[in-house]
Subunit: 278 residues, 4 copies
């Protein structure tokens, strides 16, 4: 069901790999809600993923870009403004990658080149997008920018490794640039802190399924899906949320406000009661 | 411009006094977005305010109720279910009152009967609504409940007095009941922490104008208006935010994430530079 | 081992029931660190507990008081000032009680008279102490006040019931009065958010042992004991923390900053793996 | 007045430039409290500052090190363990530097090489210290690590620029490594979020005096001094705070919990009232 919430709006979606991606769902929903969009991702992700299918579905083009490369980003904005014949109204950043996670480097034995790469790709890329957009004056007044984050920015999750630092940095950039861009152009910047989601990226983390089981039982509404996240992001891109800025918004079925739920405790208790488990 | 975001939904709006009230704006917008609503307020507020005009505008009825009285609340829900021929989908709590503020009792000389009244009317009333709704099974699954709060729940504002405690209590109730109602019926409960707003209630606080000047300069997007707050609440009542619960959502132009802005500092500096002021 | 950290200081300890009580440990440590103290508790707690033994150990007197009764509190301060020949330097509030918990009223079927009692005894009593102290000018400049809290003020813990609201209210009072008392008399007010502790009160909560097992595995340093909490409170009463105020300080082995630990996850996984458990 | 709180303890202090530095005060206090310490700073800071005088005062040695260089850090720990004949018990990180601030690059026109340098020197250096210490097993069980931070990690302060991101990153590292080091060796890691302080570094920021005036009036206890910060850090290094970990502890006279104080408002009002200022 569509409401035409984004009718006439134009946006750029960074980070849609395949139809499990949150960014993919957001692209679809934005299109359904009346927006025109442009899709961007790394050349590798475009080759390995299914961006073509998404572009076809959303009747648009793909602009390859390494989001840590300012020239590439500049190109995306320039192509977008030419394509749309004007500025954009919204922007999604859904990018994260850690070589320390991929290579299973424990957090007390990380590689610092990998860490720099993690921060550059997953967080500083967001600043580069914003600074580039600001210089090119590429976003209309009262535009809306969203980046996807995770509660690991506030609390430690075993195995999330240096992605925790990337998300903390990302959220700080959202606040800092949210001040500047809000003051100067009325553009708002928020992060959405989403439930653990079984995307291609998420599935790669060892033990991810069991964590998802735990958060499902802890969250009174259950984990939020990629589809539901897309719905929420649409509201943030719409004209109904113009004064929400510099916030980290939890979209997680309540997980972030839970200490212990009945369901999670009952499950945990089984581990204590069942002696054959030992 | 309307999107039919609340088409087919039914709700109860507590706390609309006159056309400056945030609840009033929310009632209007909900109606514009396709909802059917019922209005409730205290008999005194109904007499002194303009609820009749609102009811006419929204083509609905008014049900008088003292929100701290469980029987009155029960009656509102019963009347609503009869009126709608079924359960409701959303609920707004926009109620606050402090005799300690009205009587200018300083925070270190408050009257404890007044304090009890402040907490009862401004916060415990929210629990009473929720517990009553739960007992009557008056809200549909995946319904949405919002209460209006203020950043004084987190930080001290000179003169806000025991309303700070009321808001802290209100937000705690939103979390606690959000867990229960989410787990059992998939109903979400959030608070919206709104900019200081020149409602009839707000205007009564001494020195309020100067505080509003300060927060306007501190907030990169400026203070949020009652109209904008209504827009935001509509998204929270819609089906696009189903997994947001137990959150306190700042709708404040960025104020809550500010330490010091250029605009506020420039204004403050005048006070330091201008010696004729002393 | 003692450091004379509180040499020459005088304080009042509210809420020591028996030698499992955190307040009891704080009284002992304060005395060891050179302070003179006075003990207060309800007449019932004094009769049922072992306050006499504590008073003997700390070479002091007991002053019975219902902490929700302003006259009783006034009497405690007056007796203390007479006993010490002057004002006090520190104050501990370690009081909490919920009839809704005791009577196992579920959170969506609480009794509102019980709720009022919970808030009055567990939180408003703190305001009453502070307002009474302020009126009697009973605390020396740069004095220190601590109240014990729990992370349920921020996150929902199944079964903690309306004590969550009491703790949220308590922490708000600490901030609000911390502003007033800081500005006027340089007195600081903080809350200490302590691990779940096997005191007589704690042990009464059903399923408490299993929760303690979980938090023990979640907290990298394990749960904090009553003894350790006492150590921490001593630093807050000392002259080394003069500029810490209006804070909620987590003393919990790291629990509050954890999302998921290896130890808790390993234990939880057992519940998923062991099919004989089902 | 000394309490022998750190008697028998050994520590390393990074970042003492001159007698205005917070790290300098912490070194002095630690020594007065019975600790043996070693001082480290960059070769440039040692040359420009007064480290020799501090070393003489604390009867110790200086080990030059670039804190972003793992080899240098390794050397510091090795020299320290040789000097002390064993492991250390505490560690202070008081290091921050931004070329974007120094060169007055606005936040929407920062240089990304500078940003990398800011993060590397001001935050990643902390991870490098911890990872190196962990590998060398250089810290005794139940040791304590503190890094100095600033509230700009949570809220935007005009002109603080990319140091906000550095502090957010620093606090995230404290949490992440606090989990690892706590779980494995019972070592705690916290950050202290200190009032703006008129150190050599602080004084370099344009408009700093006026911000300090504002925070002084906002904080009920006034800004915290470097001396007071040192007192607080001593408690964190002592055995009395063993279960406090992964926390960001505000030492700021209450500023972080303030929304608006009477004193700041009165001053601000002058700017509004005095028309000759315009």
């Amino acid at each position: 069901m569509a409401y035409n919430l984004l009718k006439g709006k134009k946006g750029i979606i960074f980070g849609a790999l395949n139809d499990k991606s949150i960014a993919w769902k957001i692209a679809e929903k934005a299109y359904e809600e009346g927006a025109e969009i442009i899709i961007s991702n790394t050349p590798l992700a475009i080759r390995m993923g299914e961006a073509d299918a998404l572009a076809a579905k959303c009747n648009t083009i793909i602009v390859p870009a390494d989001a840590s490369n300012v020239n590439d980003i500049e190109n995306v904005f320039n192509v977008a403004m030419q394509h749309f014949g004007g500025k954009i109204d919204f922007l999604l950043h859904s990018i994260g990658m850690s070589m320390n996670v991929r290579k299973s480097r424990p957090y007390d034995d990380i590689d610092y080149d990998y860490l720099n790469k993690t921060l550059d790709v997953s967080a500083i890329s967001f600043h580069k997008m914003l600074q580039t957009a600001r210089k090119l004056d590429a976003i209309n007044d009262w535009g809306s920018v969203v980046a996807l984050s995770y509660v690991a920015a506030q609390r430690v999750f075993y195995r999330y490794n240096d992605m925790a630092e990337a998300k903390a940095l990302l959220e700080s950039i959202a606040r800092s640039f949210g001040y500047i861009y809000g003051r100067d152009k009325k553009i708002r910047i928020n992060t959405v802190s989403q439930s653990p989601t079984l995307t291609t990226a998420g599935s790669g983390v060892k033990g991810f399924d069991n964590l998802v089981d735990f958060t499902e039982r802890m969250s009174p509404l259950g984990n939020a899906s990629a589809d539901e996240c897309a719905d929420f992001c649409i509201t943030l891109f719409s004209d109904l949320t113009k004064k929400v800025t510099m916030q980290n918004l939890f979209h997680d079925g309540g997980f972030s406000s839970m200490g212990m739920s009945q369901n999670a405790m009952l499950q945990y208790n089984k581990s204590l009661d069942c002696h054959s488990c030992d």
